[in-house]
């Protein structure tokens, strides 16, 4: 869709073209991959630093949420499972 800057060459499609096009692809491609992931490393490290510095230990919030949600999420099957499991177990303890 966006700026395909090989169009012209591509339409000609001479053997030598494809070779140097893919060479360019190699250069620009690996270049972009490294730039992108390098920026990501910086952003991530920065974020971690900020979190550690200004907002440590958000754990408390999680246990507050988890128990409620999953119970809703798995409701039907699990409740039945518990019931059955417990009966089952009682039965075989007799």
């Amino acid at each position: 869709m966006a700026g395909n800057f090989f169009d012209v060459a591509g339409s000609v499609a001479m053997q030598s073209d494809i070779l140097n096009e893919s060479l360019q692809l190699l250069i620009y491609g690996m270049g972009t991959v490294f730039i992108f992931l390098y920026v990501l490393v910086l952003a991530t490290s920065g974020m971690s630093w900020v979190v550690a510095r200004f907002a440590p230990e958000p754990e408390p919030l999680k246990p507050a949420k988890r128990p409620s949600q999953p119970s809703r999420a798995v409701h039907p099957d699990v409740l039945k499972a518990i019931g059955l499991a417990v009966q089952e177990h009682r039965r075989e303890r007799r």
């Binding site: 395909n4 070779l19 692809l25 190699l26 990501l40 490393v41 490290s45 979190v51 999420a73």
Partner: protein, 434 residues
């Protein structure tokens, strides 16, 4: 009487079979064998193999559109109508019409479709699956969302530098593109640049990414590319160790890495958002894949939509996998797959995996030179992704050198980094070649 028995006999697959279809059914059967008995990525190769058999059932045309079925079975009158719609006066073989159809625009396609439907031909079931699941590009995105909801970025966040390993391993992708171009240059093959790029993505060692890119850049090669990607992902435990040993010394392999720090919930929640923003700023063409990936991961880490996250990693991804696999199988047609190009794709795919592995290991060694904290080069190979297989391989080879040295968690960092890396590479391909 007799001509009716004849009609029945002519409707049998035995009568309509052409050798190519028999061969493709055998190949699909082999994929099923590898998946079921050898455990080759069964979740994908079972549906792909079975879809491949169904797609090649003679006379059923399950993988054909209504128009394709009409080309194969239509009466002369209907063919004449179709030829007229294609603005072709005289033609000696149907292939002429098919070629004209393939090179015509959407308007013509719709016109022929109307003729085919009026003549009572229908789209095959597998064709419909392919159309909805892959041609639309949706299925790989949904699977990526599910994978995101199953991915833990903790090890990566604990040691962000491992992202470089995920970057280096993508060298396999671009080197393979160069290789495919080279084959074309030498006249062995005739790959277009788009095809070469699609083949290279095999080196990403990531199924949905490869299928997504192939569906955009080289739909005709999708079957071969997907099969080769999943096969080599299953072969990672055989392909990688020799390369890893060859490029490392005993004491390098024995390097013990420092325990990973604990990563806070908040960091895990923020990571997918930061990643998405970077994608938005730097590489919009990677947004569909990485966006859905981040979305899935955010659903998981936010902890407030567990019922959505659970569905994304179970019912939804399973349903999508079934239809994605069958749809890929629909692309295992003799005319497309039984082509010298497939041999090129299979050999190049192997090269891609090897190059990616080597690049990852070498990058790790380089980082050891420059950085202070020690990195065991064996985790570099995990940068090709192939989650979690490649990380397990790093761990296994590491244990050979030092039975007390557990690299699994350390290898998970580059492993998930490799998923991001290949999605980025996919974006570049689509942006520059698409």
């Amino acid at each position: 009487m007799s001509e009716k028995l004849l009609a029945l006999w002519q409707s049998t697959g035995l009568f309509q079979a052409d050798p190519g279809q028999i061969v493709m059914m055998a190949i699909s059967g082999l994929l099923l064998y590898l998946a079921i008995k050898r455990g080759f990525e069964p979740l994908l190769l079972v549906p792909i193999g079975f879809g491949g058999i169904m797609a090649n059932i003679p006379g059923a045309g399950l993988a054909n559109s209504a128009v394709e079925n009409a080309f194969l079975h239509a009466s002369p009158e209907v063919l004449a109508q179709m030829a007229h719609a294609l603005a072709i006066q005289s033609w000696d073989s149907v292939n002429q019409l098919i070629h004209a159809y393939d090179t015509s625009g959407v308007a013509t396609h719709i016109a022929l479709q109307q003729i085919a439907l009026d003549a009572g031909f229908a789209n095959g079931a597998l064709y419909q699956f392919y159309h909805v699941a892959i041609a639309s590009g949706v299925a790989p995105l949904v699977i990526f969302m599910g994978v995101g909801a199953m991915t833990d970025f903790g090890p990566l966040l604990a040691n962000p530098k491992t992202l470089f390993l995920g970057a280096a391993a993508q060298f396999g992708i671009f080197a393979t593109v160069l290789g495919a171009a080279g084959m074309t240059y030498l006249g062995w093959m005739d790959f277009s640049l788009a095809e070469a790029a699609a083949i290279g993505i095999i080196g990403g060692a990531d199924g949905p990414t490869a299928i997504y890119v192939a569906s955009k850049l080289a739909p005709d090669l999708l079957g071969a590319i997907a099969v080769s990607a999943y096969s080599y992902m299953a072969l990672v435990p055989m392909i990688q160790p020799p390369i890893m040993r060859a490029l490392t010394t005993e004491q390098e392999r024995a390097i013990v890495m420092t325990q990973l720090r604990k990563v806070s919930k908040r960091e895990k929640i923020l990571f997918p958002i930061i990643l998405l923003i970077l994608v938005a700023l730097i590489l919009p063409d990677a947004a569909p894949l990485l966006g859905m990936f981040c979305f899935g991961n955010l659903m998981k880490e936010s902890g407030v939509v567990d019922r959505l996250s659970d569905t994304a990693q179970n019912a939804l991804i399973n349903i999508t996998t079934i239809f994605l696999g069958l749809s890929v199988g629909a692309k295992l047609s003799a005319d497309k797959f039984l082509d010298v190009k497939t041999l090129g794709i299979l050999s190049l795919g192997m090269v891609a995996f090897a190059m990616g592995t080597a690049a990852g290991v070498l990058m790790a060694k380089l980082m050891n030179k420059v950085s202070s904290t020690p990195i065991n080069p064996l985790i570099g190979s995990a940068g090709v992704s192939a989650v979690p297989m490649a990380a397990r391989v790093s761990n296994k080879v590491g244990l050979e050198a030092n039975p007390q040295n557990f690299l699994l968690m350390h290898a998970m960092g580059p492993n998930v980094a490799g998923v991001i890396g290949s999605a980025v590479a996919a974006g570049i391909m689509i942006s520059l070649v698409g």
